[in-house]
Symmetry: C2
Subunit: 162 residues, 2 copies
């Protein structure tokens, strides 16, 4: 199974493709999409088009994203929401199912501890994927983490929503 | 000038086309797009496609939306954000400029009072557009109000952002 993890944001969107290979996990690609400050419409088009590109080139079976319930404030929630909206739109149009996980579910699935620290999660991500060091930048690591979460969780819990 | 006002939301999106005709304002169309509860991706596709339809059929020069800074809570901000994101994406792809106004600017522009009540705003919208009664539903009235705001404000303040 090929899972594209996405960590949405308006300035920076992290992405990471993780696939299961036997009983191992491997990543084929990960990185960040940055949008320079400017008119919101332009930034959303860039995120949308990059998402379409990722869906086309990486050909995932599922897109995994975090479902945050506790944003720092309404402004943050609003801005992340706008970016996430165009990401989910692109996934739906490409007929790729979307699975959502809370930060706690991601930590639990990756490290075994629901309240693991960011650094612990990133080190586990590196270990699970056979990488020499935690992936950079942070947003890419977060994206890989949620993808791994889906691969660890999905066989046992039907959380995939199209 | 033809202005398409949008009141974004995930369950209900209000829209209203207002045009200037000499020194009068007239509406050609207004209403609501409803999306039934279900997978978020489906709802966002419906909003996006309806927005594309409105842009195509009503041919506005500008899209006007409210910029809220005070959402009831982060969950609301997040959900409205997602819907608004695909609306802004569609406008940008259609190369239609987007102007954003705060609720206070809308009230001020429509009624002359920055702290007018909802009912007062709706009655002024009806009067300005030559309608026999306030437009229904609420979200359509809100959309018409922000469109009127742009028509009243834009000549004096360059708030149009592409
Ligand atoms: Mg409303």
């Amino acid at each position: 199974m090929r899972v594209l993890g996405i960590d949405p944001g308006i300035g920076r969107m992290g992405y990471g493709l993780v696939r299961s290979q036997g009983n191992r996990l491997r990543t084929e690609d990960y990185g960040c999409v940055e949008t320079r400050p400017g008119p919101i419409g332009e930034r959303l088009v860039r995120i949308y088009e990059k998402m379409q590109e990722l869906l086309q080139n990486l050909n995932p079976d599922v897109v995994a994203v975090e479902q945050l319930f506790f944003y720092r404030n309404v402004t943050t929630a609003f801005h992340v929401g706008q970016a996430r909206g165009v990401v989910l739109l692109a996934a739906r149009q490409a007929e790729v199912a979307v699975a959502e996980y809370t930060p706690m579910q991601v930590k639990q699935a990756v490290t075994g501890y629901g309240s693991a620290e960011k650094g612990q999660v990133q080190r586990m991500v590196a270990m699970l994927l056979g990488l020499p060091a935690p992936p950079r930048p942070d947003d890419a690591a977060d994206a890989l983490a949620v993808a791994i979460c889906h691969l660890h969780t999905a066989p046992t819990m039907a959380l995939v929503r199209g």
